[in-house]
């Protein structure tokens, strides 16, 4: 059975990046403006509403990042497995190169060729 090789993930549509940017901007604007808005709140209910809104924005931000990165987690794992296999292949290539049988094959071929050249020279 052929090995499954990791292939590149499909590119996210630009809209997904735009959605992420909106979530990011919303969270950072609320966070940057929190202290001033909090000082301006007149009631405990207003302060709670402000805190809840910021918490929701923060939740949305980290969920968006985590979900987007998690989308590729299977791909990353497959890629790592692929790298492991390739690494083992390279080690095997080196071991194989070091093996005496490989040398002897090369040496035998070379000797045959040298002998053939010797015969040609003798003609």
């Amino acid at each position: 059975m052929p090995r499954k090789t990791a292939s590149a993930p499909a590119t996210h549509p630009q809209t997904q990046l735009d959605v992420f940017r909106s979530i990011e901007t919303n969270y950072w604007q609320l966070d940057d403006g929190f202290d001033i808005a909090y000082a301006a709140c007149k009631t405990a209910a207003q302060r709670k509403q402000l805190r809840d809104t910021l918490s929701a924005a923060e939740d949305a931000y980290w969920a968006a990042v985590a979900d987007a990165l998690a989308d590729n987690s299977t791909f990353v794992q497959a890629l790592r497995d692929d790298l492991d296999r390739k690494n083992a292949d390279v080690k095997h290539l080196l071991e194989n190169l070091k093996s005496i049988s490989a040398f002897l094959t090369a040496a035998t071929e070379a000797t045959r060729l040298a002998a053939a050249l010797a015969r040609l020279a003798a003609v």
Binding site: A6, A8, P9, T11, H12, F20, R21, E24, W28, D31, F34, D35, Y38, R47, R51, S55, E58, D59, W62, A63, V65, A66, A68, L69, A70, N72, S73, V76, Q77, L79, R80, L83, K86, N87, V90, K91, L93, L94, L97, K98, A102, F103, L104, A106, A107, T108, E109, A110, T111, R112, L113, A114, A115, A116, L117, A118, R119, L120, A121, A122
Partner: protein, 326 residues
């Protein structure tokens, strides 16, 4: 006949000299590829370490500013992000390990080994020729030629494997680069968010009396002309007539510096993909027997490494900074 033998010998020598440049080029490529992979790995490791502190900073900032502490959901999502960054850090480590294998394959002198083995296996080329059933008498110059042919054949085998391995690594580089390019806006955003978290927590602590901006003020004072007196500065910060104006100025300066760090972070993230793209070009050149532009790649790696080190230095300074000490 002599002319034919001469031509055969020349062909072998040309073949052997052509192959001779492959291993050194592969060694350079392997070294630069390993360095590039480990540098990107280090950048991911830094993000992973910073995420470790992110929740703690949020908890403290919440206590100081009236915000809610991070919800269990946020904490779980930060852990998911950390696990994802860790996987990418390990991916780069795996890539570096692959380059180690490539370096081992390149540094191994198969040609020298086969020459030695050839001599060991057969005391003379004739004996070996007889052993393999060839009755032709091989003269001493032909024996030498056989040894050189054996070495050239092995070199050819090794070079073929180096190029095959290079092509495999290059294909993987394309896949890793595609992933990194696609996720770059997320990495940049997380890095900026971590910097913001660090800055805002530090400022909240400063405003709550947890620290003094001595390193910053000392840096701004011409200490060749004026001596810096911490007690005098503390008095000015606590009850001086310009206390509020100084606070505002300090916040502005810190924010300006952080904005410059954001730029550096964004350059760093976009540098991941361009570094891997440059490596791909070098692999293509290597596989096509073209000279490597090792200097261009080296300069790019050095510039990238400088950014990583600079950001690490800034973080180290922040960690050891007495400004946050009570």
């Amino acid at each position: 006949m002599h002319a034919r033998r001469f031509l055969a010998l020349v062909a072998i020598l040309v073949f052997a000299s052509g192959c001779a440049s492959t291993r050194p080029a592969a060694t350079v490529l392997a070294s630069q590829g390993g360095t590039a992979s480990r540098t990107v790995e280090a950048a991911f490791a830094q993000t992973e370490a910073d995420l470790e502190l992110a929740v703690d900073r949020r908890i403290l900032r919440a206590a100081l500013t009236g915000r809610d502490a991070p919800s269990p959901r946020v904490q779980a999502d930060i852990e998911r992000v950390q696990a994802a960054i860790q996987a990418r850090r390990r991916l780069c480590g795996d890539l570096a390990a692959l380059y180690d294998g490539f370096a081992a394959l390149a540094s191994y002198d198969a040609s020298a080994e086969v020459t030695a083995v050839f001599a060991d296996v057969s005391a003379s080329t004739n004996a070996f020729a007889r052993a393999i059933g060839d009755s032709a008498v091989v003269t001493a110059p032909m024996g030498d030629l056989a040894t050189r042919l054996a070495a050239a054949t092995t070199t050819s085998i090794q070079n073929g494997r180096l190029k095959k391995t290079s092509a495999v690594i290059r294909e993987l580089l394309v896949t890793v680069r595609t992933l990194i390019e696609r996720e770059a806006p997320l990495y940049a955003s997380v890095r900026e968010e971590l910097e913001r978290g660090s800055l805002n927590t530090s400022l909240a602590m400063y405003r709550s009396g947890f620290g003094r901006p001595h390193p910053l003020l000392r840096e701004l004072l011409d200490t060749g002309t004026f001596s810096y007196d911490e007690r005098q500065v503390n008095a000015a910060l606590e009850k001086g007539p310009q206390k509020a104006a100084i606070d505002t100025a300090i916040v502005q300066i810190v924010q300006r510096r952080v904005a410059r760090r954001f730029d550096l972070e964004r350059s760093l993230v976009s540098g991941f993909a361009s570094l891997l793209a440059q490596l791909e070009l070098e692999h293509r050149a290597f596989e096509a027997n073209q000279p490597l532009d090792a200097r261009a790649l080296g300069e790019r790696i050095a510039a990238f490494r400088q950014m990583v080190d600079l950001l690490a230095d800034i973080r180290d300074e922040r960690v050891t900074s007495p400004a946050l000490e009570p």
